[in-house]
Structure formats: structure tokens, C-alpha cells
């Protein structure tokens, strides 16, 4: 009897993938079976699937691709879990890595929200009437970014903090008609090089300087980071003063948690604030997708790149949200648009919105505080060890600090890694002159026990390098 069933299954076989497929099974995510396909081909008057591609020159078709066999969902899981298992998640280590990407606690409701098909399977909210959910959440995001940065207008998101900074520079170039950019030397190096690549096309010259007061009337903008790449607090007011004195725009690359605690960019007088919203409920994910945000002062509103959502009324007088001021955008303005951005990072903006609404300004501040306390505590204990010192002992820092370690930062980090500790980013990778330095980060997810482990392991290292040093001396 089973055989009778089997035979009738063979009908389903017709369009299946050749090979060892059992009859009737379907590959991938195609709803139509052989019956539907036959009916549709007949309807459109095509003798075969091949007929549909008649306008494609014959010589281009009939590929023989070297691709692996299709996988059942269960096998796909096995395969991807195998790859995932070849990575060591931060949660399985004691991690002190930061440098622009942070392991912060992601509340359950944030994860659950971005997993909802109502949000993740929706498109850019072109049809406002059927997209109020996305639109309102973006409006809330814009409002929160304005609150956080102290500025007037924020857009619906950009790709990441680095491209956001580059877009800000392009905005300044367009706004001022100038083609030089003065960037603080302690910008995140990833951010700086993206600004350079963006600037390159339009022949914008990017100069870095330790002295941000060097701004002149040739500069479109001054770009500083809060905190700087090495975790230290920047004197934003001074940068603003210098920029404005030169008629340039003042741009601040800000960490959102810094903005929750410190005087905001708006308060300090910046014209533009950009940053990466990854710490706001978005996992590190090996560097992406993260979240670029940008906020500007009112007069720059029409120069802002990307989507903007506005609050309006529907014809029945109800509150409604809609994409607005689209005349800045590529689909209307084409080559004269303020940017080429189309697809942005809306789902990440949703994550950040839910994160901020859950934590509130108060909760975010306390996250910043606990991170600061832990980092300072760790720094204090480490710098008591022989050979360990702060690179910038005189500048206040937040939750990251540059640490000078004995025996080479790369070797130190490797030894720590043996002990299950990601001790920080060896700065020699970025700047050969800093090969004895490590950028160390604490957050609210850095367990106090991990701090103890770090100190103990560093003690062992210090002892070892003392021995090595004395042996070296003896030799």
C-alpha cells in the first residue's frame, strides 16, 4: 500500500531538482507546485519555462553552475551551527573589547520586537496608510535622537556611525562650499578612513590634527569625537568655538551613552551630531548591521541625507505619520539629491527606539555610570601593577582607556586570550607607534568577576615580564 502512495507521488516530481530528491518534496520557498506551473505556462502561452527567457540571448543561458546541493531546513541548521561553533562568542569569554562596538545588555523586549514579521518583513513605508507602525516608530526614533543629541532634526537612520560621519562631512561641504575637513586626531580610525573614501570621490581633503583650533576659513567643518577613540572626554565647547570662528560647521561623533550623561552636542553648540547606535540594543554581529544616526540644527534640515518622517493629519483629521521632505532624496532629485541613500537601517532604528523607551534617559545614564565605575576601577587596579600605566593619565575617560602594558600589547593580549580574556584592542594594529598600548573597555555586561580575572592574569603577566626583564638584564 505504501507503494501505491509512492507511485502517485511521482506526479509531483516533474519540476523537481534532479538528483537524489525523494518524490514530492519541495526545495526552497516556492509555493507553486508542478500543477500550478503548468496552468500558468499554459495561460501565458509558453510551451516551457525556457520559453520565458527567450529574450535572453541563447549564448548567455544554459549555465552549469558549481553550487552545493540544496539543503533541508534541518541540514541547513546543522551546517550553519557548525560555522557558528567555529566562532567564540563574547559571552563565552571575558571580553574587554570596545573600540566602537560594544557588548551591552539587550533587553528581551528589544530582541522580541525586531523578530516580529510586522516589522522585519515590511518595506520602506511608502504607503503611509498601511505603514503607520513603522512610521510612528521612526518618528519616535527621530525624536529620541533629537532629545539625546540636543539638536533639532534627526533622520530615520544611516548605515553606521562611520558613513554617518562621512555624510555629515558631505553635508558640511555642500553647505559651506568649502572642500577641506579638519578632523580630530582621535576619531575612531574606521570612521576616519570612511570619511577619506567618501571625500576622495569629490576631492575633499581631510586633515587630521591633534589641535582642533587649527580650523580656518577653508574648512567646511571640524569633526571631533565624544569620547575620543581612546575613551577620553573631548572638550566639545572648544571645538565648537574654533569651528564657528572659522565659519565652519562643528560636527560631533558621539556615543549615545556619552550623550545620556555628558553635556549634549546641542548644549555644547555643535551643528551636527552623528554616531553609531549599536550600543542601543543591537548585538555586535561581527560589525554589522549597526545603526548610523544623524541630527542637525533646524537651518540644516533640508540638507540632511536620508528619510525623514513627519507627523501630520489624515483626511479624517487623525494623527498620521508620513515620509516627508522627499525632495532631498535620490528618487526625486536623482543626481542632485543630498545623498544617494535609499535603503537605510530602519529595523536597527526600531531596536534602538525600543531600547531607549525601555531604559529611558535615566536607565541609560545608569548604564553609562556603571560602565564608567567599572572601567575606572579596573584602570586603577591595573595601573598599580609594575609596567602598566595609562597612556593619557591626565585626561578624564569614560568606560574605555588606553593602557600601556609591559612586553608588547599584542603578546599581552595573546597571553590573556589563553586565559579566556579578550584584554582589549592592541593599538599597534592601527598605529605602529602604539604597539605597547591596549584599548580596554568595560560595560554593564563586564562581570566584576571578569575584572578580578583580568587583574589576576595581568599580575601573572607582570610577574612574568619582571622575570623576563631580569633575565634579559642578566643575559
Amino acid at each position: 500500500m505504501a507503494d501505491r502512495v509512492r507511485r502517485s507521488e511521482e506526479r509531483e516530481q516533474s519540476a523537481a531538482v534532479p538528483g537524489q530528491d525523494p518524490p514530492g518534496t519541495r526545495t526552497g520557498y516556492l509555493p507553486n507546485g508542478p500543477d500550478e506551473r503548468r496552468q500558468m505556462l499554459e495561460a501565458v502561452g509558453a510551451a516551457s519555462i525556457d520559453d520565458l527567457f527567450a529574450t535572453v540571448p541563447e549564448q548567455l543561458r544554459h549555465l552549469r553552475l558549481d553550487l552545493p546541493a540544496p539543503l533541508a531546513e534541518q541540514d541547513l541548521v546543522t551546517e550553519l551551527e557548525r560555522l557558528a561553533a567555529r566562532n567564540r562568542p563574547l559571552g563565552s569569554l571575558d571580553s574587554f573589547l570596545g573600540a566602537g562596538v560594544y557588548r551591552r545588555y539587550v533587553p528581551a523586549i528589544v530582541r522580541a520586537t525586531v523578530a516580529r514579521p510586522e516589522f522585519y518583513t515590511a518595506y520602506t513605508p511608502y504607503q503611509a496608510e498601511a505603514s503607520q507602525g513603522t512610521l510612528q516608530s521612526i518618528f519616535e526614533f527621530q525624536s529620541m535622537i533629537c532629545e539625546l543629541t540636543g539638536l533639532d532634526v534627526a533622520n530615520a537612520s544611516l548605515y553606521d556611525g562611520a558613513t554617518a560621519a562621512a555624510e555629515a562631512v558631505m553635508l558640511a561641504v555642500a553647505h559651506t562650499g568649502r572642500d577641506r575637513v579638519l578632523a580630530a586626531a582621535d576619531l575612531n580610525p574606521e570612521v576616519l578612513s570612511v570619511i577619506r573614501t567618501f571625500g576622495g570621490g569629490r576631492r575633499v581633503e581631510v586633515i587630521t590634527s591633534g589641535d582642533i583650533r587649527a580650523a580656518t576659513s577653508q574648512h567646511a567643518c571640524v569633526v571631533v569625537a565624544q569620547p575620543g577613540f581612546l575613551g577620553t572626554v573631548t572638550d566639545g565647547a572648544a571645538a565648537v568655538e574654533a569651528a564657528h570662528a572659522a565659519g565652519a560647521l562643528a560636527i560631533c561623533c558621539i556615543d549615545p551613552f556619552a550623550s545620556a550623561l555628558l553635556a549634549s552636542p546641542g548644549e555644547q553648540g555643535f551643528d551636527v551630531a552623528v554616531g553609531d547606535g549599536q550600543p542601543l540594543g543591537i548585538p555586535p554581529s561581527f560589525g554589522g548591521p549597526h545603526l548610523g544616526f544623524m541630527a542637525v540644527r533646524q537651518p540644516l534640515m533640508r540638507r540632511i541625507p536620508g528619510r525623514l518622517v513627519g507627523m501630520a493629519r489624515d483626511h479624517a483629521g487623525r494623527r498620521a505619520y508620513t515620509l516627508t521632505l522627499q525632495a532631498r532624496e535620490q528618487h526625486i532629485r536623482r543626481e542632485r539629491a543630498t545623498s544617494n541613500i535609499c535603503t537605510n537601517h530602519a529595523l536597527m532604528a526600531l531596536a534602538a527606539t525600543v531600547y531607549m523607551a525601555r531604559m529611558g534617559a535615566g536607565g541609560m545614564r545608569r548604564v553609562a555610570e556603571v560602565s564608567i565605575r567599572r572601567a575606572h576601577h579596573l584602570a586603577e587596579r591595573l595601573t598599580r601593577l609594575e609596567g602598566f600605566s595609562l597612556v593619557e593619565p591626565d585626561r578624564p575617560f569614560l568606560w574605555e582607556f588606553a593602557l600601556r602594558v609591559p612586553g608588547g600589547a599584542d603578546r599581552f593580549a595573546a597571553a590573556m586570550r589563553e586565559a579566556g580574556i579578550l584584554a582589549g584592542l592592541p593599538l599597534g594594529r592601527i598605529d605602529a607607534g602604539r604597539s605597547d598600548q591596549l584599548l580596554v573597555c568595560c560595560t554593564e555586561t563586564t562581570a566584576p568577576a571578569a575584572i578580578d580575572s583580568y587583574v589576576r592574569a595581568a599580575e601573572r603577566w607582570a610577574a612574568g615580564s619582571r622575570v623576563a626583564a631580569s633575565q634579559g638584564a642578566a643575559r
Binding site: 553552475l65 553550487l67 541548521v77 503607520q132 532629545e147 534627526a154 554581529s285 548591521p289 525632495a327 523607551a357
Partner: protein
């Protein structure tokens, strides 16, 4: 219509109206370390004078807010989303779950390479699959979206010409039917845009192209099938024309869903290609993003790829930052890795059967086009690929507008097709059903459209005032743009 009840579809307050607690928040972790006053740790640092007005909502309040917003969205699990050019195909649930595995989501870009071999291997293998599908020599997986890819590709083309000592090429040829990001990307790269006409059949006018091409042209940018859903039949000739003039040929891969596994851009003569993983390879659109726009290049351009690239040494994978001719970095880190995981999973699910995607995508479009044949004139004849453009001009109903048809569709739980694009077609309705709609769903859509046209014949005003059954009616867009209200204000 009865007034919308607050329950099923009424207004939802803003987060800011649901709470005013700017100081509290959820219970926090104890620092576990000594707690000197913050002022001691941050001596001399200017702190905020007032907290940001971002309220902390209790979880039950926030969850309900989200639940009610979610219900106000059309989405793929609710109905068809036939947005032309957007490839709104079904996003496999398993891909979401896989991307959130801690082995993928909880890894840091600065971890030692030995800690992230699985991630690098996935990227390396994904790059191989993309090269196989396109015929390109190599890919960068870094660009975050199509537009970002376009600009990255153009920057490489600039670098290529510059490396050959050819610095006069400052222009890009783009057809009039192109997507807006093409000219915008060219402009962002500092290139000037030259527009080429389309012929009556919707394809590029090769004569016009010949007349405009010269040694100032860095690249010819094409989408194929183009935004009218028509295969550029003269593609081989176009490639020859471009190459003879010393220009490169750029492929906007937004429409690869029509051809994936069937024909390859490299074989058509393209030198640089961007793909939209969020279209062809089903990573979700997320209400606007994130996407992923890898760029592939022919062998002569691999030196210019953004740093870093992913390299394999035997069984070991590494990042190569040391590429002196690279255009540099185009974003932080290595790409929208979470999207790469999804696309890789999708590609492994189909594997060697990937051409079935294009087959069914084209069949579905062709079938829907056939079903609509008596309702709307097509823009360029009935031989569409994965999408097609019709117009409301010349239908049985004078005054019928694309916008009104689109809005009325919303009342039926169907998203509007792309309207007024491409701009070369008046009153355009651009349908792309994708391969993941069933025949049943296409028949339903066709029936609904027939009903709408019949209704319009009787009473056009019903369409013009539509939608009626959505959470809101039409928005006063003019007022919204005239007095833009782009944020909530504490005192408003």
C-alpha cells in the same frame, strides 16, 4: 464607515505620551565595584544639565505600544507586497533564527581571527557563491545597501581608470529609466551624469548611447532586466560599445531575481556588479533596511576592492588589510554580517536549484501580467521578466490614476505596487509579485484589481477618497511638507 475604535485601529499615543519618567528606569545591575562620587571620576567634565526627555516605559506599557504599532503595518505575513523593483519575497523564518545564534550575533569585529574562523569562512564561501552566480572574479561584501554598492563600485571604477593614468573620465552614462540611486551615487562619487534615452520597447537606445559615449565616460550603468522589467536585448552590443570607448560597464543588480542561475552579468560583459542581498537573496527589508549590497568586479579590478578582503590559507581564514591599491574603507568593519548570514543560509537552502527562483519569479510576473491584460495597457508590451509596468492611461476609466488604484488596493489588504516609477512611463503601476506568491494569491490580486476597475467605472470618487479601511486615511502630504513636524517636543 463607523468611527475607528481605539481598539482595533485607533490612534496610538507616542512613547512620550505614555510616560514621563526621565530619571527612573528598570532595575539595574549593581556595579560590583567601589562607587566614589561620579564627579571624582569625571573631574571637570561637563555633564548634562537636564536629562534627555526619553521616558522609561514599564515593560507592559511598552509591549502593548509595540503590539499596537505592529498591527498598523502591512507586511509579508499579512498580504502580497507587489512593489516593483523591490523584490518583496518571503523571508525564511529559519534565516532570522540562524542570524541570531550567539556564534554569529555575539562576536566582535576586533576579536582575534582564530576566534572568528566560522564567520570568515561563511563570508569566504558566500563570496564564492556570488562569484559563481555572476561570473565576477571577486566580491566585497561590505556595502550596506544597493546605493552604497553603486558608489563603492564607481569609486573602484575611478581608481581603475586613475591607475591606468586615465584621469579624464568624469562622466557616467545612465539610462532615463534608471533608479534614482544610480545618478545620486554617481554624483556622490564626484561623477557627472549623462542620460541616455530608452527606445519604445523600453530598452536602451544604442544609437543614442553611441552618440554620447566618448573618452570622458568612466562607466555605463545599467539594470538588467531594466526597471521596466525588460531584458536589455542589445546588452552584448552595449558592452562592446562601452568597452571600445574605454568605459567600464556597471551592473545594478537590483533585478537579478529575474536571472539568477539563468544568465550571468559577467557573460553579458559587465565589469562591476552590485547585488542587493535584501532583494534577490531574501534578507528582510526591515521597514526600510538594513540591506546588503556586495559588489563584484572583473579580474582587472580586484586590486581596488575595499579593505579588508577575506582570504583563505588552506583551512585558515584571515582578513587582508594590506592592499595598497584599495579604494580604502567604505564603512566600518566588514559588512552587514547579520545579513550575510541570512543570505548565505538562503543560498544554501536552494543551492544548485537556485535558478528555480528566477523561473518562478518570471512565470509569476508573466502570469499576473496576463491576468491584467484587459485592465491596464502595459508600458512596453507583454514580454516581461520578473516585473512589469502598466499604466492607468488609456484604460476604460478616464481619469483613473495610478495613485488611486494603489490606495484602493490597501483596502483589500494588498500593498500598492510601485507607482510613478519608472518616471518614463506616465501613471505607472509597477508590479513585481516575486516567486514566493502562490498562483492563488496572484489570482486574488487580479480579481481585486478587476473589481477596483469595475468600481472605478461606476464611481471614481470611491477610489479617489480611498483607502477607507486602513488605520488611517490619506495623509495631507502638502501640509506635512509645508510645516514639517519631525519630532515630538516636550512642551508641545
Amino acid at each position: 464607515m463607523t468611527p475607528t475604535p481605539p481598539g482595533w485601529a485607533g490612534e496610538e499615543p507616542l512613547v512620550f505620551e505614555l510616560g514621563r519618567d526621565y530619571l527612573g528606569g528598570p532595575r539595574e545591575v549593581a556595579s560590583g565595584v567601589p562607587e566614589p562620587p561620579l564627579g571624582e571620576l569625571l573631574a571637570g567634565v561637563a555633564l548634562r544639565s537636564v536629562p534627555a526627555a526619553i521616558p522609561a516605559l514599564p515593560e507592559p506599557v511598552l509591549a502593548r505600544h509595540i503590539g499596537r504599532l505592529a498591527r498598523r503595518n502591512h507586511h509579508l505575513h499579512h498580504g502580497i507586497y507587489p512593489l516593483g523593483s523591490c523584490t518583496m519575497k518571503y523571508n525564511p523564518v529559519i534565516d532570522e533564527q540562524l542570524a541570531s545564534l550567539s556564534g554569529f550575533a555575539d562576536i566582535h569585529p576586533d576579536q582575534p581571527v582564530d576566534d572568528v574562523q566560522g564567520a570568515l569562512q561563511l563570508m569566504w564561501e558566500l563570496e564564492r557563491i556570488l562569484t559563481e552566480l555572476t561570473g565576477m572574479a571577486r566580491f566585497t561584501l561590505q556595502p550596506a545597501a544597493g546605493a552604497h554598492g553603486e558608489w563603492t563600485g564607481l569609486r573602484m571604477i575611478q581608481a581603475y581608470h586613475a591607475a591606468g593614468g586615465d584621469t579624464r573620465r568624469t562622466r557616467v552614462i545612465i539610462p532615463d529609466s534608471a533608479h534614482g540611486t544610480n545618478p545620486a551615487s554617481a554624483s556622490l562619487a564626484g561623477l557627472e551624469v549623462v542620460t541616455v534615452r530608452s527606445t519604445r520597447d523600453g530598452t536602451m537606445d544604442v544609437t543614442d548611447l553611441r552618440s554620447r559615449i566618448d573618452t570622458s565616460v568612466a562607466a555605463v550603468m545599467l539594470t538588467n532586466p531594466n526597471t521596466l522589467g525588460v531584458f536589455e536585448k542589445d546588452i552584448l552590443e552595449i558592452a562592446e560599445v562601452a568597452h571600445q570607448a574605454g568605459s567600464l560597464l556597471y551592473y545594478d543588480g537590483a533585478n537579478l531575481n529575474a536571472l539568477v542561475g539563468i544568465a550571468r552579468p559577467a557573460d553579458m560583459g559587465f565589469d562591476v556588479v552590485h547585488l542587493n542581498l535584501h532583494k534577490t537573496f531574501s534578507t528582510p527589508h526591515g521597514g526600510g533596511g538594513p540591506g546588503s549590497g556586495p559588489v563584484g568586479v572583473a579580474a582587472g579590478l580586484t586590486d581596488f576592492l575595499p579593505v579588508p578582503t577575506v582570504e583563505r590559507d588552506g583551512e585558515h581564514f584571515r582578513l587582508d588589510h594590506d592592499r595598497p591599491r584599495s579604494i580604502g574603507k567604505v564603512r566600518a568593519h566588514y559588512g552587514n554580517f547579520g545579513m550575510l548570514v541570512r543570505a548565505y543560509a538562503y543560498l544554501r537552502a536552494y543551492g544548485s536549484a537556485i535558478s528555480r527562483v528566477a523561473e518562478d519569479a518570471v512565470l509569476n510576473a508573466r502570469y499576473l501580467e496576463w491576468r491584467l491584460r484587459d485592465l491596464f495597457p502595459t508600458a512596453v508590451g507583454p514580454q516581461c521578466m520578473h516585473e512589469f509596468v502598466v499604466t492607468t492611461r488609456g484604460t476604460r476609466v478616464p481619469g483613473l490614476r495610478a495613485l488611486d488604484v494603489g490606495k484602493r488596493l490597501l483596502d483589500h489588504g494588498v500593498y500598492a505596487p510601485t507607482v510613478y516609477f519608472p518616471t518614463t512611463v506616465p501613471e505607472a503601476l509597477m508590479f513585481e509579485p516575486t516567486e514566493t506568491e502562490s498562483k492563488r494569491s496572484l489570482d486574488q490580486l487580479a480579481d481585486i484589481l478587476a473589481g477596483i476597475v469595475a468600481e472605478a467605472e461606476r464611481d471614481l470618487s470611491l477610489l479617489q477618497s480611498s483607502p477607507h479601511d486602513t488605520p488611517i486615511e490619506r495623509v495631507d502630504e502638502v501640509e506635512a511638507a509645508r510645516h514639517p513636524l519631525l519630532r515630538w517636543l516636550p512642551e508641545a
